[in-house]
């Protein structure tokens, strides 16, 4: 059972950040709630006095701004992946990977900001955002806005003292690109054990339909799931954490397989 003493629904970002900065109570931001409410209910999270609901901050939007798509942090995953601009990015890599975040009822509530904040190790949609070269915008309690690449963004790291920040937006480049995706799971729709997402371009064009291009002829960003505490870009040693779904050794070996298949898919080959 969730044991909360407070619920807040501020109407401005400043008010929300003030509530989060106020140390007289332990408060957490509440986005879609699909993770936090469950964690409160199961008492995985006990160190919480209250929540700050971000629903009234007008952070649910999708807007094209030049060559990028600006997605408000409170935009649901369903709205994100069904939007005409995002739905076709890299051959539809977002809707393809979003299905593995959970069924429609969860995607209807879970938010883009929540997805980025959680960075769950088996989040294929997060990996797709990584591969798409997504940037994350935050605002801290001093009103300072920052924009970082998703791979450099880690909300689990300690915030500067007394300056909590909120994710307000993510930005997706609208570059033409091809997408590839490969995964291993216990069942077809289960969350993955290991997965890879590749977004590739050839000379600034989509790699799709250019299978003759050898590997290395095109720029590719490969993101991997299930090989560490959070999804990451390929390159460098992996540090997978083994569990009942797959040992560390299995995950390491499979990362190569799914990355290869995802690259092949991006290049137009099978899988």
């Amino acid at each position: 059972m969730a044991i909360l003493a407070e619920y807040h629904r501020p109407e401005t970002l400043a008010a929300a950040l003030d509530l989060l900065a106020d140390r007289t109570a332990r408060r957490l931001p509440l986005a879609g709630g699909t993770n936090l409410v469950g964690a409160l209910e199961t008492r995985q999270r006990r160190d919480v006095d209250g929540v700050v609901d971000l629903a009234a901050l007008n952070l649910s939007y999708l807007q094209q701004a030049g060559a990028s798509l600006r997605v408000g942090a409170m935009t649901t995953l369903a709205d994100l992946v069904e939007h005409p601009l995002s739905a076709t990015l890299a051959g539809g890599i977002l809707p393809r990977t979003a299905r593995f975040e959970g069924p429609r009822n969860l995607r209807n509530a879970a938010t883009a900001g929540g997805l980025v904040a959680l960075a769950e190790p088996d989040s294929e949609l997060f990996a797709a955002l990584l591969a798409l070269n997504t940037a994350v915008v935050t605002v801290d309690s001093d009103g300072v806005e920052s924009c970082r690449q998703l791979e450099d963004f880690n909300l689990s790291l300690p915030a500067p003292a007394g300056r909590p920040a909120l994710i307000t937006e993510i930005r997706l480049p609208l570059d033409p690109a091809a997408g590839g995706h490969a995964r291993i799971a216990r069942t077809p729709m289960d969350r993955c054990i290991v997965a890879a997402v590749v977004v590739a371009t050839v000379n600034g064009r989509s790699a799709q339909g250019a299978p003759a291009a050898a590997e290395g002829d095109y720029a590719a960003r490969t993101a991997l799931c299930g090989v560490g505490p959070r999804p990451r870009l390929a390159g460098g040693p992996l540090a997978p954490i083994g569990d009942y779904k797959g040992s560390a050794a299995y995950r390491s070996t499979m990362a190569e397989v799914v990355a290869r298949r995802a690259r092949a898919a991006a290049a137009g080959g099978h899988r």
Binding site: M1, P103, L106, R186
Partner: protein, 998 residues
């Protein structure tokens, strides 16, 4: 502090006082929106789904979301639609459905869910219908994939999704003005098998109690699909309870409110093995609103066994309600009763427990080692086989001299298999409400499969006589054996006794996994011999089973394992040698199949491996050895369930036809198609097809008993009272069909009620695939008695010069050969009010000394990704001989749901532990039961035989679907890759490692 929110619910603005941590789900239920269910705390069950918007002015803004993942405060100013808010769109209110049920304001979806048999337990139905409605609102002509995706977030443990998907597609067509044809159920007859009564009259007695056949004659023609004289039996009647379930009405244990009701909760052990040195509950009791904290010091120490089984309980007796020792992570420590769920939780967290940790063991092999920690060192446990050796039960059963038989065999083969622990995972958790009634009797409203066993078993624990306890079984939201247990009724009742208040006690999903019941893991070693012709001469099965911390069901489940392993194929000599061993793990118990899935995983692979080693075609090897009509089951005498059994002879079998029909459906010939098996464009893919045959039982011979009462009402309708418990299987419908057939009335003239220990006669309960056969036998007997009384009264008073035996009942009338007729209403009014006044009614009991086996062939076609080990099942088929299917729709629904559970057993479901015995999963997502959008194609074929000992020729169907899928998958993997994997589940890494090891 509570605050008031405004929320529009189904179009009506409501003001609700809510607490900051309260969920929208519980707030809605306080508004009596009972269609919104608790399935879990993390949203993965989807039973709590609603349509939700924060912009009510935009009708298209509603989204399907989980009300259990929204704080009630988040819904302030929002609008929600629940199943209660769906309005009929395509008909007039109060219409009668196809079967004549009054179905007020049913939507097309609700009607199709009913007509297609898409509702089993009905717990997930409201959310499924809501999800489907939302889909159709946006996409009036969805394809199957869209339908499956739309309901993928609403898990169903009963149906396998076949019929819900069918219902949604048909509703879509209906809403487009089309008239879909009746749903197709593939029902075939086993030629020259079984005999339908050849008299012109309906059978006076539809079964034969194992003795000579006096009621049936041999027919030269095959049985027809619908026996020619039946009007209700063997027909796809809609379920009698379908309307209320389709409407989401308050029918489940939790769907009531009692004034002053408290909430109960359980503190469980965080350690696997420990003595409790002290418990300090003072901080918890100091919380205002906390009414009771109970520990071992507060309750009488009464030894018991929790398995819901007939008297006397099979041993061992090794439990008490609360103990000073804990034996697994999740074991009971203390209970709390308080005014809100949040207070319960807070109080539980304030209880201080000091443990003295003890060494723990997590495998039977460790537990049986000399010097291993003794799990049951208490002095008052009873009938443990070897407490110091951690052996709860020892079974050693011989039929003839198996050593000599194997010695004489031309070929001997030995192999070993392992099966793992899985959980029943019914979507409705265990839930109990207890209260004192106005006569100071304790009422226990509980989601149980065994209400009468619960009453008998809980009485001594509470210190109350049985007569002061009433157990009410409302609708059950799935059980699958998990509710064949007196699990939390004692704890809840103790809290009511302590507080004098009604108490509701419900498990969380995590507690369902850690503190309810599971399937027994086993290691099975087979040694068999054959003669030169390939006939088995003997088989020895050695099983080491893990019963966790307590021995409930440990004896009987393993006995079924032995019986199934050693009876499916006819054996001149056999031995079953089994140790049932304690470990410091959560407790196995009854789970659909009850030892048979374990046995058949080993047996079917052992047979296949032996055939290949011997040089025979495995199917042919099985065919010449499987038990056939007229053969006895020698192990049946030696292995009853917890006691000596009774002689059994197979009277009916359609197994050969099942194998043939299933092979055609799965495309068995593709095994020889190299292009299919090794697709050229996918070099890492291998495809294969596997077969397993299955034989199960139908009730427990000489033990199970069911009773039924039937009463004639003024209007010629009948009340049927049964103690049997419909846990979603459709047994209420099947029993009512049997009564209706025997009484010559349409189904809606039977008003069935089950079950309440105050009002309904005894029944052992819903387990062992017994209800249709045993309880149905009682219903048929009672109906025939009532029929006799009706005919006698009519002959005496309403007809002239006719013998009662010349009359028969049909079409709600008593008919005479000369064409005269009086209605049942006339008979009822006359007998009750006018002459020789009396109540026409009868109660009958039924038991059987035989347990006729249903047979089946299960097939799986799959592909193996040889690079990753990932298995993808393309199609699963089950052709099953369940005798005459009383209701082909509910029967096929049992098959589809059972096969789906079996696929989970084979592929993904498991209960992993860390090194300290803590379960690593606690939610549906981690455990993974299959969702609608990831199912393979399922094909169900009912191969009908006529079982002379069953009511109207029926045998069982409920459990056999779960028996053979895992070995069929194993067989298919072998066919695809040449690699034999002798342990489940077939997770990608396990398969990958097996492929690499060769």
């Amino acid at each position: 502090m509570p605050s008031t929110i405004s929320l529009t619910v189904n179009g009506t603005l409501r003001q609700i006082d809510v607490r900051p941590g309260e969920l929208l789900r519980t707030a809605l239920r306080r508004l009596r929106i009972f269609s919104v269910k608790h399935g879990d705390e993390t949203g993965e069950s989807g039973a709590d789904a609603i349509l939700f918007t924060r912009t009510p002015g935009a009708p298209k803004s509603y989204r399907l979301v989980n009300s259990g993942l929204l704080l009630a405060f988040q819904a302030d100013g929002a609008s929600v639609i629940t199943l209660e808010g769906l309005e009929e769109e395509d008909g007039e209110g109060g219409e009668r459905s196809r079967a004549g049920f009054l179905s007020p304001r049913l939507t097309a979806l609700q009607q199709q869910f009913i007509d297609c048999g898409a509702i089993q337990c009905g717990y997930c139905t409201p959310a499924q219908i809501l999800a489907a409605q939302h889909l159709l609102d946006g996409d009036p002509r969805p394809g199957e994939a869209a339908v499956r995706e739309a309901i993928a977030g609403v898990l169903c443990r009963c149906t396998g999704y076949v019929k819900p998907v069918q219902a949604i597609l048909r509703a879509a067509a209906q809403l487009q003005g089309e008239t879909p044809p009746p749903p197709l159920i593939d029902v075939r007859d086993a030629p020259a098998t079984g005999e339908w009564p050849a008299t012109d009259q309906p059978p006076a007695n539809g079964w034969r109690d194992g003795g000579p056949d006096t009621q049936t004659q041999t027919r030269s023609l095959p049985v027809t699909v619908a026996p020619p004289r039946t009007q209700v039996v063997n027909k796809p009647e809609p379920k009698v309870d379908a309307v209320k379930l389709a409407k989401g009405r308050p029918v489940f244990a939790d769907d009531v409110e009692y004034p002053g009701m408290l909430y109960g909760g359980l503190l469980t052990s965080p350690v696997a093995h420990a003595r409790i040195l002290s418990i300090d509950a003072s901080d918890a009791l100091a919380l205002p609103g906390v009414h009771a904290v109970q520990t071992y010091a507060d309750l009488p120490r009464v030894i018991y066994a929790s398995g819901g089984q007939s008297y006397p309980q099979p041993p061992p007796y090794d439990q008490v309600s609360l103990d000073s020792k804990v034996r697994y992570v999740g074991d009971r420590v203390a209970t709390v009763a308080a005014e809100t769920p949040e207070l319960v939780q807070e109080a539980l967290e304030r209880i201080k427990v000091e443990y003295e940790e003890l060494p723990a063991v997590f495998s039977p092999e460790e537990a049986m080692q000399p010097g291993a920690p003794v799990i049951h060192d208490e002095t008052d446990a009873q009938m443990i086989h070897d407490a110091k050796g951690n052996v709860a039960v020892k079974l050693l059963v011989d039929h003839n001299d198996v050593d000599a038989a194997l010695e004489s065999a031309d070929f001997v083969f030995e192999s070993e298999y392992r099966v793992h622990q899985v959980q029943q995972a019914s979507i409705e958790p265990h839930i109990v409400i207890t209260y004192w009634d106005e006569d100071d009797r304790l009422v226990i409203r509980t989601s149980t499969q065994v209400p009468f066993h619960v009453r008998r078993m809980v009485a001594p624990l509470l210190g109350l006589p049985v007569r002061r306890i009433r157990v009410v079984k409302p609708r059950i939201g799935g059980g699958f054996g998990g509710k064949q247990e007196m699990l939390i009724e004692d704890l809840c009742a103790h809290l009511t006794i302590a507080t004098g208040r009604p108490v509701k006690f419900e498990y969380t999903r995590r507690q369902e996994f850690s503190s309810a019941r599971t399937r027994h893991p086993q290691r099975l070693r087979f040694r068999s011999g054959v003669d030169a012709g390939g006939k088995l001469v003997g088989m020895e099965v050695r099983v080491v089973a893990d019963t966790g911390a307590y021995g409930t069901h440990g004896l009987t489940v393993q006995m079924v394992t032995g019986f199934r392993a050693l009876s499916t194929y006819w054996l001149p000599a056999a031995r079953f040698d089994c140790d049932v061993v304690y470990t410091n793990k959560p407790v196995p118990g009854a789970f659909r199949g009850y030892g048979a899935p374990q046995a058949l995983f080993g047996l079917e692979q052992h047979m296949e491996e032996m055939a290949l080693a011997f040089g025979m075609d495995p199917v042919e090897f099985k065919r010449i050895n499987w038990v056939k009509e007229g053969q006895t089951l020698p192990m049946a005498v030696a292995m009853g369930e917890g006691r000596e059994g009774f002689p059994q002879t197979v009277e009916s079998s359609g197994l050969a036809e099942c194998v043939e029909a299933g092979a055609a459906s799965i495309g068995w010939d593709r095994r020889a198609d190299a292009g299919w098996k090794r697709p050229p464009d996918q070099p890492h893919i291998r495809r294969g097809i596997g077969l397993a045959i299955c034989m199960h039982g139908t009730g427990i011979a000489g033990l199970d008993m069911g009773a039924a009462s039937i009463k004639l009402n003024d209007d010629g309708s009948f009340n049927l009272l049964v103690g049997a418990t419909d846990l979603g299987t459709g047994s209420d419908t099947v029993l009512a069909q049997i009564a209706a057939e025997a009484l010559g009335v349409p189904l809606e003239q039977i008003v069935i009620y089950s079950s309440d220990t105050d009002f309904t006669p005894f029944d052992t309960g819903a387990y062992a695939s017994s209800t249709t056969y045993i309880s149905g036998g009682a219903v048929l007997k009672a109906a025939e008695d009532v029929s006799r009384q009706i005919r006698r009264h009519a002959a005496a008073h309403l007809f002239e010069r006719i013998d009662a035996d010349q009359l028969w009942l049909e079409d709600r009338k008593v008919l005479a050969p000369d064409g005269r007729a009086v209605s049942l209403e006339e008979v009822a009014l006359h007998s009750i009010h006018q002459e020789e006044q009396h109540q026409i009614m009868a109660t009958a009991s039924h038991m059987s000394y035989v347990s006729p086996p249903p047979f089946a062939a299960q097939y799986a076609a799959l592909e193996v990704d040889t690079e990753t080990g990932q298995i993808t099942v393309e199609k699963a088929v089950m052709a099953v001989d369940c005798g005459i299917a009383i209701n082909p729709v509910t029967a096929s629904g049992q098959v589809e749901g059972g096969m789906t559970q079996a696929l989970g057993y084979a592929l993904c479901e498991e209960m992993p532990y860390d090194e300290k015995g803590k379960l690593q999963i606690g939610r549906f997502g981690d455990y993974r039961i299959l969702a609608a959008d990831e199912m393979p194609e399922l094909d169900t074929i009912l191969v009908q035989t006529y079982e002379p000992t069953g009511p109207f020729g029926a045998k069982a169907i409920a459990e056999i679907p779960i028996d053979g899928m895992a070995p069929a998958v194993a067989s298919a993997i072998f066919d695809a890759t040449g690699v034999r994997i002798r342990e489940i589940p077939f997770t990608p890494e396990r398969v990958w490692r097996a492929l690499r090891s060769t």
